[in-house]
Amino acid sequence: MDLAFTKEEQAFREEVRQFFRDNVPPDTRRKLVEGRHLSKDEMVTWWRILNKKGWGVSHWPKEYGGTGWTPVQHYIFNEELQAHPAPQPLAFGVSMVGPVIYTFGNEAQKKYYLPRIANVDDWWCQGFSEPGSGSDLASLKTKAERRGDKWIINGQKTWTTLAQHADMIFCLCRTDPSAKKQMGISFIVFSMKSKGVTVRPIQTIDGGREVNEVFFDDVEVPIENLIGEENKGWDYAKFLLGNERTGIARVGVSKERIRRIKDLASKVESAGKPIIQDSAFREKLAACEIELKALELTQLRVVADEGKHGKGKPNPASSVLKIKGSEIQQTTTELLMEVIGPFAAPYDVHGDDGSNEAMDWTAQIAPSYFNNRKVSIYGGSNEIQRNIIAKAVLGL
């Protein structure tokens, strides 16, 4: 047992950090610090910088452009990325559909899609959730019927993140309606430009438009767009969701936010002096930092375990990462709310003329608080995670 980072790992961290300092566009960074939304262009620009460096699909097998890093290196990379902060690679392409394609796809699919994913030639979105499915994903109803050399797709997906930017979607569709729930589902990819695809934005309570409903009305999809075998889609979905754990704790994000809290708390006054000088506030912040440090260590233990024993099946400890990670993210947004106090109220203070610079720093804090309520809901709600721990770890 050696609980320190090796010299090599420390050097790697320095290299990564330096690269971000030199290459993340400053405006992109600033917007992330302030909790603002980035434009599609800003994101794609950065991802292509990352891809050029060879770090765009770092965890993929080397043959498809991966880096061959150790799990600890991946951890360091992710933490530094979140902490800089810089936009994380588009999960839907890089972490989700990519691994499914290189694991279950045929040669033609690998050859065509993988480089395009790495370079974000296609912006991917995910077609899993449906109205009414929620935590019971397997109850999905979207149908793909085989007609000649086409799939005819009908149905509706929801919570489709950034579908407004998307070129491609990977979709779970029911291909055998007579089969039992988890059976009879296939994994099909297709263009969002296809005729019959409609995207309707869902405005979230923070005022943002990250998620969408997507409607399929007799969408025609070439038969070769099936990934893997017909009716095996549920297996691929499970595989995909098991891969989704990387960075689920979002330690770097919370670290960055704690730095922001400290920064604001040294500027905002309470009782005539900066609020950071208030011992009660400081102790509350310290409590959050301690939880976060514990989470970081827990994550490192999971990472080290993967390094030692291989990824294998989903580690139930990742439920701990999800629960604590989401709680801490929510706490940090609550602390930010507390710092700005009455100045949390203004909504869109820029107005149309963008002139209210005085209050600029507060603009995204309440929306960020509201928006972060989602983190204990999505990706398997914290209640579902507790079920998983009870069953898979404790045998209850």
Binding site: S135, I205, G207, S270, A271, D348, G351, E383
Partner: protein, 380 residues
């Protein structure tokens, strides 16, 4: 000790509940929000018609002589329906200043137009660095002839966008955090030197940041003693806090009801999610939190009439703490139990959550009031 409503109070409750049931469902509310200024003049006049805008004023002033319990009834109903109209700013706060400190002439000039719904007020108090301390005032009111010249900046003035008259706290002498030397002034919103920057707030209300540059007002603008009005401000803000507590209870009641209905109907894995024990227990905890908040809202209402100002403030601070904690828990868990749908603008529940959140940060948050109670030696 009697927690039942009197006959008059029951009628009042039926009246306001009836009005809002008819004219304030969630869809109607969206329309009002889209109106100019962000609320409905029509609804406002209906409130006037039913006498609700005159509720707390004495009969001599043309009002109905309602007390704390009556305001509690109204605010709870307004909370339940998530009402946008500026009742707090105009009737509770504006009316409060006029009732406690207005001269006969000032009352005559303002109260009738509040009661008939023709004018609204706003309270310009918050400054860039004052946070929750009411005595932290840098806006100045300098004597000039009979009147005063007001200079300074006020922020997040609720209903500041629409108000006809502003009630402004300003310092007539002393330094930034001195407790003496603070006055309260009635300033016409269209006075020369008043500049406003308006915006919607996170909870769908409207506010403004307001700059006062050499704003000249006459002697009739002075409410109370211009050199010693902190006690007056504290009294009226305490009344506003009590009103916010009641509003929050209404919001929590409706949040809990909406959430329980949702989990009864929403199905997952073939059963209503309300059949899962962990969600049942969460809902039970929300009920407990709401009942504790209701109790403290009543306590605050009672405390409004305490003779000892320190005892009053301490009790109201305690209520604000309980309401803040309950509101946060009920609000957050309402979203959690709704799942994804709770995160959308289309669902009603998120709007309740946002209003509950903003109430916590209005006139002192949970930690601020908890410290006040602690420094006052507690409640026992």
């Amino acid at each position: 000790m009697d927690f039942d409503l009197s006959e008059e109070q029951r009628l009042l409750k039926e009246s306001i509940d009836g009005l809002l049931t008819d004219s304030y469902d969630f869809e109607q509310r969206k329309k009002y929000m889209a109106e100019k200024g962000g609320w409905s003049k029509t609804v406002w006049l209906k409130l006037a018609e039913q006498g609700l805008l005159g509720l707390p004023f004495s009969e001599a002033d043309g009002g109905f002589g309602g007390g704390g319990v009556e305001t509690m009834i109204v605010m709870e109903a307004l909370g339940k329906a998530l009402v946008l109209e500026p009742y707090l700013a105009t009737v509770v706060i504006g009316g409060g200043f006029l009732r406690h400190a207005g001269t006969d002439a000032q009352k005559a000039a303002h109260v009738p137009s509040i009661i008939d719904g023709s004018k609204t007020l706003a309270f310009a108090q918050l400054e860039k660095n004052s946070r929750y301390d009411l005595f932290d005032v840098t806006t100045t009111a300098k004597k000039k002839g009979d009147g005063y010249v007001i200079d300074g900046e006020k922020f997040v003035v609720l209903n500041g966008e629409n108000a006809d008259t502003l009630i402004v706290t300003a310092r007539t002498k002393g330094d930034r955090r001195d407790k003496s030397g603070i006055g309260v002034f009635l300033v016409p919103a269209n006075a020369k030197g008043v500049a406003k920057k308006s915006y919607p707030t996170q909870d769908g209300l409207h506010a403004a940041d307001i700059t006062f540059t050499g704003v000249e007002v006459g002697p009739d603008a002075v409410l109370g003693n211009p050199e010693a009005s902190l006690a007056l401000i504290e009294r009226v803000v305490d009344e506003a806090r009590v009103a916010l507590c009641a509003e929050a209870v209404g919001l929590m009641d409706e949040s809990l009801k909406t959430t329980v209905e949702y989990i009864k109907t929403r199905k997952q894995f073939g059963v209503p999610i309300g059949s899962f024990q962990s969600l049942q227990h969460r809902a039970s905890d929300m009920f407990v939190a709401t009942e504790q908040a209701r109790s403290m809202s009543m306590f605050a209402t009672m405390a409004n009439d305490f003779e000892d100002a320190r005892e009053r403030s301490n009790a109201i601070a305690a209520a604000k703490v309980q309401i803040g904690k309950s509101a946060k828990f009920v609000g957050q868990q309402s979203i959690q139990l709704h799942g994804g749908i709770g995160m959308t603008m289309e669902a009603k529940i998120g709007h309740y959550f946002k209003r509950l959140t903003m109430i916590e940060n209005t006139f002192g948050d949970t930690d601020y009031h908890q410290r006040r109670v602690a420094d006052a030696g507690g409640l026992i």
